[in-house]
């Protein structure tokens, strides 16, 4: 569908009011009140996936409603309990929403401008592509996809349908990452030769359970979606999907998607897409989850030459559970977490670039990085030539690092990734695993 041919509610209203040109009763929510934008400036939102992160994003959506920048009109989840909780959360905020168990019904609504996708990772690409195809802008949680092919299709869909797709790696909307990026890009420690990430281990299931019937509130078939069918097991969800390669990919694809995004920003390496990757790890001794609790992954980039290391538990050089140390020719600089929730080092905050030095773009709309990141997306929707700061193409490049790290572990061999072709050089099996056939009809 060509989004330019879609008649949107605001276009329709504009046409009607111009044509009538007479006094006409229009609901107050459509008209701008003093200090509050009118409907033309408010983005109408639907939320797909409203547990965990989705519930947090719904809260942010309601905040933007309060600020007069958005309307929250629909929520969707495959778990009826979570859906009811989300509807109640909206009702408590004085907002009436329509509830959906099938996201495709939500996407059919012409009055919804944009959707927030906070489903398990194996749904991200399919729902993002479908949303773009139905004319919706998308805020999708990280990691953007579980395969390289899915990520390519997300980028293609965003560009083809000219939709703004922001990915929820909020580091680039956080002040600590901004200070660190500004200091590094302006040479505080010289040219970077190595970045070393540490992170605590991926958990393993110490109490495995047999397969059983799904709970009555869960639509198991819809939860699986594009994944191959298998019986329900209580260890798949909620939340624990993260510890399976198919649906989550472990810490490297969860938090790695945050940390790598910030690192690529600090090094101006978003376009340095070719690399080699080697990985070793120790698999879980028990249970359904298959992501390795401990893992060591090394990425090697050329021209400029630098090395990126992801280790669980790794060499902890900071104060908190995870973070990264930047090593440069003139010293080293620490950044805790992904640069949003914790703090920047004082030398990064105090660093004063020389006149004309590089100034990184960061939204600066709100102190809270989560609101800042979603606000940046809403701003991009309203600004024709402005892509959000973690546009899908940037996020896809980050996801490739996460995906290839896991793939090198699974295959137990060094992989050479050609970023231009988005292929592994000379490895048929690895290339087959860059995509996963999807179950009918849940496909890209």
């Amino acid at each position: 569908m060509n989004p330019n041919k879609m008649i949107k509610r605001r276009d329709f209203l504009a046409t009607v009011t111009t044509a009538l040109a007479v006094p006409y009763v229009i609901p107050s929510r459509v008209l701008a009140a003093a200090g509050k934008p009118g409907a033309n400036e408010r983005t109408t939102l639907g939320f797909i996936g409203v547990g965990g992160m989705g519930s947090g994003h719904l809260g942010r959506g309601l905040k933007f409603k309060e600020l007069g920048q958005a309307e929250v009109v629909a929520v969707c989840d495959v778990d009826s309990t979570r859906l009811a909780n989300a509807a109640k959360k909206c009702a408590d905020a004085g907002v009436e929403v329509k509830v959906y168990a099938d996201y495709r019904r939500l996407l059919q609504r012409k009055d919804i401008d944009a959707v927030v996708v906070s489903t398990p990772d194996h749904w991200h690409a399919v729902q993002t592509v479908h949303a773009c195809e139905t004319g919706k802008h998308v805020y999708v949680e990280k990691p953007s996809s579980v395969t390289v092919r899915e990520g390519q299709d997300m980028v293609d869909a965003a560009r083809k349908y000219r939709r703004k797709v922001q990915v929820g790696a909020q580091g680039r909307s956080g002040k600590p990452a901004y200070y660190t990026c500004r200091a590094i890009r302006n040479g505080i420690i010289g040219r970077i030769t190595k970045v070393d990430c540490w992170h605590y281990e991926t958990p393993y299931d110490k109490n495995p359970l047999p397969d059983c019937d799904p709970p009555p509130q869960l639509d198991w078939d819809m939860w699986l979606g594009p994944l191959r069918w298998r019986p329900y097991n209580p260890r798949y969800c909620p939340g624990t999907f993260r510890w399976l390669m198919e649906s989550g990919g472990g810490q490297i694809r969860d938090r790695g998607a945050h940390q790598f995004s910030t690192i690529l920003w600090c090094l101006n390496a978003d376009r340095q897409t070719s690399f080699t990757v080697e990985a070793t790890g120790t698999p879980p001794p028990l249970g359904l989850w298959d992501c390795p609790p401990t893992v060591d992954v090394t990425y090697t980039f050329k021209d400029p030459d630098w090395t990126l290391i992801w280790s669980q538990p790794g060499r902890k050089t900071g104060k908190t559970e995870f973070g990264q140390m930047f090593y440069g020719e003139k010293g080293r600089l620490l950044l805790e977490w992904e640069g949003a929730r914790k703090w920047a080092e004082p030398e990064a905050i105090d660093f004063e670039p020389v006149a004309g030095g590089f100034e990184p773009y960061t939204p600066g709309l709100f102190d809270d990085f989560g609101l800042n990141h979603m606000g940046e997306w809403l701003k991009a929707i309203k600004t024709p030539d402005h892509l959000p700061n973690v546009d899908i193409e940037i996020a896809h490049r980050t996801s490739i690092l996460c995906i290839l790290g896991n793939l090198a572990y699974l295959l137990g061999r060094k992989l050479v990734f050609d970023g231009q072709l988005q292929r592994v050089v000379g490895d048929d099996q690895a290339n087959r695993l860059l995509s996963t056939p999807q179950r009918h009809p849940y496909h890209l």
Binding site: R228, R230, T294, G426, R432, P441
Partner: protein, 194 residues
């Protein structure tokens, strides 16, 4: 296993014997099972059938370790330059697609074949497009196996599988870059079902 015990890493220097592999995977000690299945790749094709048998063990963790051992074999022989080992493993996996193998295990075998199977795998997998419980996994395996043989099989299947399954085949053909008549085989991805 205690909370503090560390995970056991593979001993790359050792080529494990089949009997050791089977014994280790049947162990009641999680650490032993895990250390053992990681070495299944060094045993290769001869371990495929014994591991497949262990996949159906009543002890879920033994079955899981055996399945992971099969994956390790496939990912070892799938490395560039191991053509003979790969062919032998593919042949062993193909024999496991027969009716005397449990359906859940045959699903796993189809996905393993999707990683390393070639033209030799197409006909046996195509035969499963007629099997109601296995046809969706068979379709997805054919979609992933590169080459003209798998593509031709999907093209032929479009006109021969039961009507209710033709839209699934059309999905695979589109994923392979084929033009499929949208009037006869409309894409269903945006059609709400629930």
């Amino acid at each position: 296993m205690t909370e503090n015990s560390k995970f056991i890493a593979i001993n790359e220097d050792k080529n494990m014997k089949l009997e050791e592999l089977v014994k280790g995977i049947r162990s009641d000690k999680p650490d032993v099972r895990t250390a053992t299945w990681q070495q299944a790749g060094t045993v290769g094709a001869s371990a495929v059938k014994p591991l497949a048998k262990l996949c159906t063990e009543e002890n879920l963790e033994v079955g899981r370790a055996a399945r992971r051992g099969l994956e390790r074999i496939v990912r070892t022989v799938g490395a560039p330059g191991i053509q003979s080992g790969k062919s032998a493993v593919v042949q062993e996996l193909l024999t496991l697609l027969s009716d005397d193998t449990p359906i859940a295990l045959r699903r796993d075998i189809l996905w393993l074949l999707s990683e390393i199977g070639g033209g030799e795998s197409v006909e046996p997998i195509t035969a499963l497009l007629k099997h109601h419980a296995l046809r969706e996994d068979a379709r997805m395996a054919l979609e992933r196996i590169p080459g003209e043989a798998s593509l031709a099989s999907l093209r032929n299947a479009l006109g021969s599988v039961p009507e209710a399954f033709r839209l699934n085949i059309a999905q695979s053909l589109r994923a392979r870059g084929e033009a499929v008549d949208p009037e006869r085989y409309p894409c269903q991805k945006l059609v709400p079902k629930k």
